[in-house]
Amino acid sequence: MDKVLTKRPCWNCGSEVDHLYSCSHCDTLQRLPEQIDYFICLGLDYRLQIDSQALEATFYELSRKFHPDFYQKKSQEERAISLENAAMLNKAYRTLRDPVERIEYLIGLAEGKNTLRTEVPSDLFDEIFELQEAMEAIKEIPADDAAQRAPVIASLETARKRFQERQDQDQKELEALAGRWDTLEGSQQDRSFTEEQRACLREMKKVLAHRAYLDRILNDIGAAIGKGS
C-alpha cells in the first residue's frame, strides 16, 4: 500500500508524486501527505487485529528510509523532511503496536479528537463506595500501626482483585469487539465508516471508558497499599 490517493508536486523537481514518501522521477524523499493517518503511514488497512511481527518489520524498513542518520549530508530541506517523517513514523508505530491505543486511535479517526472519557461501570457502584471508605480509613491510620492497618489492607486487596477481574473481563470484551470490527465490510481508505462500523466503535468506546476508570482506581489502590506489598 505504498500508493496514496493524494497526488502532489515533488518539492525538488516538480513532477507529480503519487507515492507515500518518494519521487519516482528524482528519487528524493517526500514529506508524508499531511492528511494521512497512522494506519496509512504503516501501510495498514483499518484493522484491529495486527500481526505484530509484520508491523515491526514495516517499522524497521521505514525507519531505514526516514531516519535523520541517513540524511546528514543531504540538503537542509531533505533533512527537515526526514526529521518530520521519522517523527510521524515513530508516533504511528508507538500507537498502533499497542492494542488499546490502536482502538482509541481508530475511534479518534472516526469521531474527531478527544472524545474518550472515563466512566464508572454501573455494575460496580457499591464496590466503589466501599472502596472509597477503605481508602479514607487507611489515610487515618499511622504507617507503623501494622495491627490496625492489616484488616483495611486486606479489604483493599480484595477490592483490587475484584477490579482486576473486571478489567480482564473488559479486555476480553474489547478483543471480541476488535474481532467483530475486522469482519465488518467498510471502506479502507477514506474513513467514511458505515453505521454498523460506527456502532461497533461506540461499544468499544464504552468498554474503554470503564477500562480507563478501572486503571485509575487500581492505581489509587496500589498507592494506598504502598509499594512492594
Partner: protein
C-alpha cells in the same frame, strides 16, 4: 573525507575514538593511554592562557585545589540550587547570585560548565588532530541517557565553544550497545547497566537485523563513583575529626588529598579483600592510618548501589519485560568493576553480567561507530533511541499537560494549539517542563518559549499551532505557525538553566580570540627560540672570523645583534622575525668568508692525490 570522531565526555575521564576501516579505535597518547582525566587547571593569571587539561592538570589537584576543576559534568545544565549539596565537598568556588547557570569562579573570572568542558573537548580535538594528521571539525559526543534537555544542550554548547560541529548527541549506554553489537554480531534483548563517575543509566535494547531499538531507559544523573568516594571521604573525615579534633573539610588541599586517597582505596578494594588508608598532615598533627576490609566498604556503599535497582525495575516495566526476557546484561563505566555492583546486578536480572568489553572505552568506541554511520560509512546499523523524560507544558493552576511520553522513540513531535486571552494580545508565553510528575513545581523547567508578533485580534481569535519536536539528539525544537495567515511565527527561547544562543555565540568568539592569542603566543615562543639559536651561531662565527671583517662590517653586525636582543625582550614575534632577517643579511659576507676559509683549510690539509 574528513573524519568524524566519537567523544566520550566523562565525569572522571574523557576519550576520543575514530573509525579505522571497520574497527573503532581509541586514540592514545605516546604512552598508550587513552583516558584523558576530565580535569581543567588554571594558572595563576586565572586566564584561559596556560590552561592545562588531563594528567598534567590532575597533578595540580593537590597544589592548586581552588583553580583545578574536576567532575564539571555534574554541573552541566544545572542551577546553583541543584548542586548545593555538592558544595561542601568541592574545593573550588561557585559564584553566588547566579541562579540560572552555575558559574565557577577562578580568580576574578567566571566560567560556565560548558566553557570548562570545552577545554577538555579542545584537548581531545587536538589529540585526534595530532594522531590523524588532519583537522578535526565534526564530532559525536556522548551523554548519559538520563540527561535532560538542558544538560544535552549544555554539552552541545561545549562542543560549539571548542570549535566542533556536534553532529549528534548520543546516549552513553546506547553507544556502548553499538560497539557491543558491532563486535558480537548477536541479536536479542540486552540491558546496558552504566555506572560511571557521576551518573547512572540503564537502557534496554532490542537488537534485530542491524536495528538497535531502545525499548526504555532510566537512571539517575547524580549517582556514580564520585558518590562512592564521598562515602569513604565522610568516614575518613569524621574519624579524623573525632581522633584529632581537626576538621579537614574546610581546607581545599586536604579535602582533595582525602578524595584521592578514597578513590585509590575504592579501586584497590575491587581486587583485594582489604586496603590500607594512610593520610598524614604533619602541620596539623594528623597521622591517620587504618585498614579497611571490603566488607566494611560494602556496608558503606550498599545503599548507594541499591539505588540503581529502582531505575532498573522501572526500565523493565516500561519495556514490558521481566528479567527472564533479557538475553544479556552488559556492564559499562568504571564503577561496575566493584564486586558489589556486579553481584547486585546479577541478583536483580538473574544472570551473570558481561564485562569483557573494556568498561572505560566501550562508550567512546560506540560514539565512533555512530560517527561513522552519520558520515555514511556504516549503512547496515541504525540506532533508534528514546527520550528519557516526559515533556509537557504548564497549564492553569501549575498543572502539567503532557505532550510527549517518556521512552518515546526519537525523533518525535507533538502539536498543540494556542490562542490569546486578552483583546489585542501580541505575544503568548509557553512554559515547557520535563519530568514524570503532575505539577510544574515538581518537574524540571526547561525553557519559556515566547510567541511574538501575533496580529492584534480579539481574544481567542488567533490560532497558533505550535510544534514541539524532539530531534535525534533528544533536544527540543519549538516552531509555531499562524494558522490564519499560514506564516511561521517567531519563537524566542529563554532557557531556564541554560545559555541563550547569544551567550554561546559570545563564548565562541571569545574562544576564537583566545585561540588567536594562543597562536601568537606560540609564534612568539618559536621566534624567540630560533633567535637564540641564531644568536649563538653568530657569536661563535664572530669570534672565529674576527679578523676577516672590515671594521664597518663588524660594527654593522654588532648593531644587528643588539637590535635582535632588544626585540627578543618584547612580545612581537614579527619584530623578532624582522631583526632576524636583518642580522642574517648583515652576516652573509662573514658566512661566505668563513666558508671560503674552511674550504681552503680543508684543501690545504689534503694532498692533491686525495682530490
Amino acid at each position: 573525507m574528513a573524519k568524524v570522531v566519537g567523544i566520550d565526555l566523562g565525569t572522571t575521564n574523557s576519550l576520543v575514538a575514530y573509525m579505522d576501516g571497520n574497527t573503532p579505535r581509541v586514540i592514545r597518547d605516546a604512552e598508550g593511554g587513552g583516558l584523558v582525566p576530565s580535569i581543567v587547571a588554571f594558572n595563576r593569571e586565572s586566564d584561559s592562557e596556560g590552561v592545562i587539561v588531563g594528567e598534567a592538570a590532575k597533578k595540580q589537584l593537590l597544589t592548586h585545589s581552588d583553580r583545578t576543576i574536576y567532575s564539571v559534568k555534574r554541573f552541566m545544565g544545572k542551577g546553583v540550587e541543584d548542586v548545593r549539596d555538592d558544595l561542601s565537598l568541592i574545593p573550588f568556588h561557585l559564584a553566588e547570585g547566579q541562579k540560572e547557570v552555575v558559574r565557577i569562579q577562578i580568580g576574578n573570572k567566571l566560567y560556565t560548565p560548558p566553557e570548562i568542558s570545552a577545554f577538555i573537548l579542545r584537548e581531545l580535538k587536538q589529540r585526534a588532530e595530532a594522531f590523524l594528521n588532519e583537522p578535526v571539525r565534526q564530532a559525536v559526543i556522548t551523554v548519559p541517557a538520563y540527561f535532560n534537555d538542558s544538560q544535552r544542550q549544555a554539552t552541545k554548547d561545549a562542543g560549539k565553544i571548542a570549535g566542533l560541529e556536534v553532529l549528534r548527541i548520543v546516549n552513553e549506554p546506547t553507544a556502548a550497545s553499538l560497539a557491543y553489537g558491532l563486535q558480537k554480531k548477536k541479536e536479542g534483548t540486552i540491558v546496558v547497566y552504566d555506572l560511571g563517575g557521576g551518573t547512572f543509566d540503564v537502557s534496554i535494547l532490542k537488537i534485530k537485523n542491524g536495528i538497535f531499538e531502545v525499548l526504555s531507559t532510566n537512571g539517575n544523573t547524580h549517582l556514580g563513583g564520585d558518590d562512592i568516594d564521598r562515602r569513604l571521604m565522610r568516614l575518613i573525615l569524621d574519624e579524623i575529626l573525632q581522633k584529632y579534633q581537626v576538621d579537614l573539610s574546610q581546607t581545599p588541599e586536604a579535602l582533595q588529598e582525602v578524595r584521592l586517597v578514597s578513590e585509590k582505596v575504592k579501586i584497590r578494594l575491587s581486587s583485594d579483600e582489604k586496603a590500607e588508608i594512610g593520610l598524614s598532615f604533619p602541620g596539623r598533627k594528623v597521622e591517620y592510618r587504618r585498614e579497611i576490609k571490603r566488607e566494611e566498604f560494602e556496608a558503606l556503599i550498599k545503599e548507594l548501589v541499591g539505588q540503581t535497582i529502582e531505575p532498573c525495575r522501572q526500565a523493565l516495566e516500561d519495556a514490558r519485560l521481566k528479567p527472564e526476557g533479557i538475553d544479556e546484561v552488559i556492564l559499562v563505566g568504571g564503577s561496575t568493576r566493584i564486586p558489589l555492583v556486579k553481584e547486585t546486578v546479577a541478583a536483580f536480572f538473574k544472570k551473570t553480567p558481561h564485562s569483557e568489553l573494556n568498561p572505560d572505552e566501550v562508550v567512546a568506541l560506540g560514539a565512533a561507530v555512530q560517527a561513522d554511520i552519520l558520515a555514511g560509512g556504516i549503512t547496515h546499523m541504525l540506532l533508534l533511541d528514546v527520550t528519557p523524560l516526559s515533556l509537557g507544558i504548564e497549564t492553569m493552576g501549575g498543572v502539567v499537560s503532557r505532550l510527549i511520553q517518556r521512552n518515546a522513540t526519537i525523533p518525535t513531535s507533538a502539536k498543540e494549539m494556542f490562542t490569546t486571552f486578552v483583546d489585542g494580545q501580541k505575544s503568548v508565553s509557553i512554559h515547557v517542563v520535563q519530568g514524570e510528575r503532575e505539577l510544574v513545581k515538581d518537574c524540571r523547567s526547561l525553557a519559556k518559549f515566547n510567541l511574538t508578533g501575533i496580529d492584534p485580534l480579539p481574544a481567542g481569535m488567533p490560532r497558533i499551532e505550535v510544534t514541539f519536536l524532539i530531534d535525534a539528539n533528544g533536544i527540543l525544537n519549538v516552531t509555531a505557525k499562524d494558522l490564519r495567515g499560514g506564516k511561521m511565527q517567531s519563537v524566542e527561547v529563554k532557557p531556564t538553566y541554560g545559555l541563550t544562543d547569544h551567550e554561546v555565540e559570545s563564548m565562541i568568539s571569545a574562544s576564537i580570540e583566545h585561540a588567536r592569542e594562543d597562536l601568537s603566543e606560540r609564534m612568539l615562543i618559536e621566534s624567540r627560540n630560533e633567535a637564540e639559536t641564531v644568536l649563538r651561531h653568530v657569536e661563535k662565527a664572530m669570534t672565529q672570523g674576527a679578523g676577516l671583517l672590515e671594521e664597518p662590517e663588524k660594527k654593522e653586525v654588532d648593531q644587528r645583534l643588539a637590535d635582535l636582543r632588544a626585540a627578543m625582550q618584547g612580545k612581537d614575534h614579527n619584530a623578532i622575525r624582522e631583526k632576524l632577517d636583518r642580522l642574517d643579511k648583515a652576516t652573509q659576507r662573514l658566512a661566505e668568508l668563513l666558508m671560503n676559509r674552511s674550504i681552503k683549510e680543508a684543501l690545504e690539509n689534503k694532498k692533491l692525490s686525495d682530490l
